[in-house]
Amino acid sequence: MMKKKPVEENMKKLFWVPLMLAFVVGTTATAWAAPDIGPLPTIKYDKKKAALGKRLFYDPKLSGDAAISCASCHIAGKGFAEGVDLGKAYPGTKHFRNAPTLINTAQKKKAGIPWFWDGRIGTNLNDVTRNEIVETIVLNMDMRIMQERLKQQPDYVKMFKDVGFSEPSNGAVRKLIPEFLKSLQSKNVPFDQGKLSKSAKKGMKLFKGKANCIACHNGSMFSDGKAHILGVAENPKIFKDPLRHVTMKASNKFLGVQNQHNLRFDVGAHSVSKMADGSDYRSFMTPTLRELRDTAPYMHNGMLASLDDVINFYNNGGGIDPNKDRALKKLGLTKSEKGNLKAFLLSLSGDKLTGSKYVVSKKEIMNMMQPYKAIPNWHNTKN
């Protein structure tokens, strides 16, 4: 009798199979679809352009009032992060988020990890460079003035020519700084080299298993490129210091976040996804775990001072939030397991990038800081 069931009915049953499959996949995606962790691919870059990009990275001429540079908040000795919970930001303001590392940042492109804690900008480093130069609370620079500042300095004119640009320009800067960013690649990372200590190896097992860090920190960049709600406590400095609250407000205004005056928390990636019910409030992009040895304090607002704090935070199943990510559960790690996990996390950091390739010399600084000279025979020289 069963065999005589109409074909249509069987077809109806079959119709549900992909839907059910999709449901199963959807609910358990984070658990089993995580791409494995692995070593980073090498990124090719133009060394000459990167060297000029380095100088621009350190030059305060790239900020509105010529007071700060990219390097003011992305410090080589601090893993190209800032080493403080919340960033400095442009004079007259203070930032409301932590400045993340720039090392390996060019890898985000292939890994598909959008930029900034809220992921509001894609992976195009040219865009990112422009954004940070013109952003009011970062460098607050009219790039047309920047271009003319560079053109006024003879050594820059020569250097831009040497790397193939006809003259210093807005567009050239947006190509050169990314070239320097590409040069910021992890070196001699024990994990990539397969030189893990016993403890770190145990830690890796925990990372992939019991602690389930890999659910979000996966792929060669240790990030799924998605936003998650962890329940990290708000940094009270933001609300106690009006100069910090100002930058948060300005950012929310600019990104069209509703009810900005009453918010007493960082909306995070809600500024992009804008769920009407606020279920995406306080979600933040999964950051890379690479080079974290030098980039404390941690989280989007620097509320966790050390790696131990971070491990304890996750061991407790994260913080408190009505919409906390369900992947977070109490882990029940023993003291030695925590130690092993920490050893593994530390194995993701390589040599410090503090050589002359990454930091400007005194001579370069002296050249950079020369006062502008008038162009000789100005009336007969092309602008």
Binding site: G92, T136, I145, E148, N316
Partner: protein, 423 residues
């Protein structure tokens, strides 16, 4: 009948010759309009837009904002930095200092009496004080502020929140209202009782004899009235009088940066960007090559407090200005390339005594004491930032009965927990 015919023919003749006469006059001197006679400042002509009526409270708020450096990029320069009360509400150097790390490229004008202008800025690029505020506050070599940050700063200053609410009736300060308040304040900065104004209103002793002689020259031999006419001493039209490029353009590296930035930013063809060495002024309004090097006639009121003169501050004293016109104006890049020097200017042949009289008259267009001398003597005390109260919470789903602000070590934070949604 005879008389009516005669009257008719007379009327027709009059009607025919009048426009011709006017036209002949305009062709002769390059100014198509009849010149309004100079007169006492007519306060009824002060702008008072329907959407931004001046009130004392609004002007008071605008005054505070005018002096507040937080309405700029790095919170170090305010309107008053470059339009400094101590310098005649202008800037006492040829070219304005500009934003930190930059320099401006033009002379800074006084804000006194500006409520009478219909075209603001040297190139007449802005029609109202309200829009002028943003050109200054946001410009890269001026205030370099951004509206979102400036508005956020206002929201963090309780005194401003209160005053904005009182004046504009909105729950929070809005950045457009910042411009409205500053414009309202600027409209209160007027100098209507100069010796000249008193003289014109009947006090024949208000002006010196020299100044009275100077007025005769102004209206006659020197023909200043051709452009500087009416109660506000300007026809607000555009002329190239041949003021040369300032020495700063050739001598200062910083100045060259701003020069190139400006011609680039204002939208110049590449050929012009590469070759321009002087400021084309009103050219940028309509990009008509014949407009290169032309500037809107400025008022002559408040001159005494506002040297140096001209759009690039190349004349330091009124004597220099009078000498310039006595020589029939000057020559600059554009008088040569566009051939557009105004035909109004001719050698005047003024004697030294006449020049002195003319200067005396020009000085009679300013009061002896500055406008709002109280603000010249001392800047107002500005209200401070304060953290926002923590008793306002965002609407959350009713299930959100959780301590919201906490430290990871389990300690409760200074912030209170949320218990009721939408409180």
């Amino acid at each position: 009948m005879k008389y009516t015919k005669l009257l008719f023919s007379l009327l027709i003749a009059f009607g025919l010759t009048m426009p011709l006469a006017a036209q002949a006059k305009s062709l002769g001197v390059g100014d198509p309009d009849d010149d309004a006679p100079i007169a006492a400042l007519d306060m009824s002509k002060l702008s008072n837009p329907a959407d931004n009526i001046t009130t004392p409270e609004k002007a008071e708020l605008g005054m505070l904002l005018y002096f507040d450096p937080r309405l700029g990029g790095d919170a170090s320069v305010s309107c008053a930095t470059c339009h400094n009360p101590k310098d005649g509400w202008a800037f006492g150097d040829s070219i304005c200092r500009g934003y930190p790390g930059t320099v401006h490229w033009r002379n800074c004008q006084t804000v006194v009496n500006t409520g009478f202008y219909k075209k603001l800025f040297w190139a007449g690029s802005t029609p109202s004080l309200e829009s002028q505020v943003f050109s200054a506050a946001n410009g890269g070599v001026a205030g370099n502020g951004e509206r979102d940050v400036m508005e956020a700063r206002l929201e963090m200053i309780p005194e401003y929140v209160k005053r904005f609410k009182q004046v504009f009736g909105r729950p929070l300060p809005q950045i457009q209202d910042f411009a409205r308040a500053v414009a309202a304040f600027e409209r209160t900065l007027n100098d209507p009782n100069t010796p000249f104004d008193q003289y014109m209103r009947g006090d024949k002793k208000a002006m010196t004899k020299a100044a009275k002689r100077g007025m005769g020259l102004f209206n006659g031999k020197a023909n200043c009235i051709e452009c500087h006419n009416g109660h506000f001493f300007t026809d607000e039209k555009y002329y190239n009088i041949g003021v040369g490029a300032p020495p700063e353009f050739t001598e200062s590296g910083m100045q060259q940066i701003s020069f190139r930035f400006e011609i680039f930013a204002k939208g110049t063809k590449e050929k012009d960007y590469r070759t321009l060495k002087d400021d084309p002024g009103a050219y940028y309004r309509g990009k008509d090559p014949a407009m290169k090097g032309k500037w809107r006639t400025p008022t002559l009121r408040y001159l005494t407090f506002t040297p140096p003169y001209f759009h690039n501050g190349t004349a330091y004293t009124l004597e220099e200005v009078v000498d310039f016109y006595n020589n029939g104006g000057g020559e600059n890049h554009f008088t040569k390339t566009a051939g557009n020097k105004t035909k109004i200017l001719k050698k005047l042949g003024l004697s030294d005594g006449e020049k002195g009289d003319l200067v005396a008259f020009l000085e009679s267009l300013t009061s002896k004491v500055q406008v709002r001398n109280d603000l010249v003597q001392s800047n107002p005390t500005l209200p401070s930032y304060a953290p926002l109260a923590n008793d306002k919470y965002t609407v959350l789903p009713p299930s959100a009965k959780v301590p919201f602000y906490h430290y990871p070590n389990g300690k409760k934070a200074a912030f209170v927990s949320i218990s009721v949604a939408g409180k």
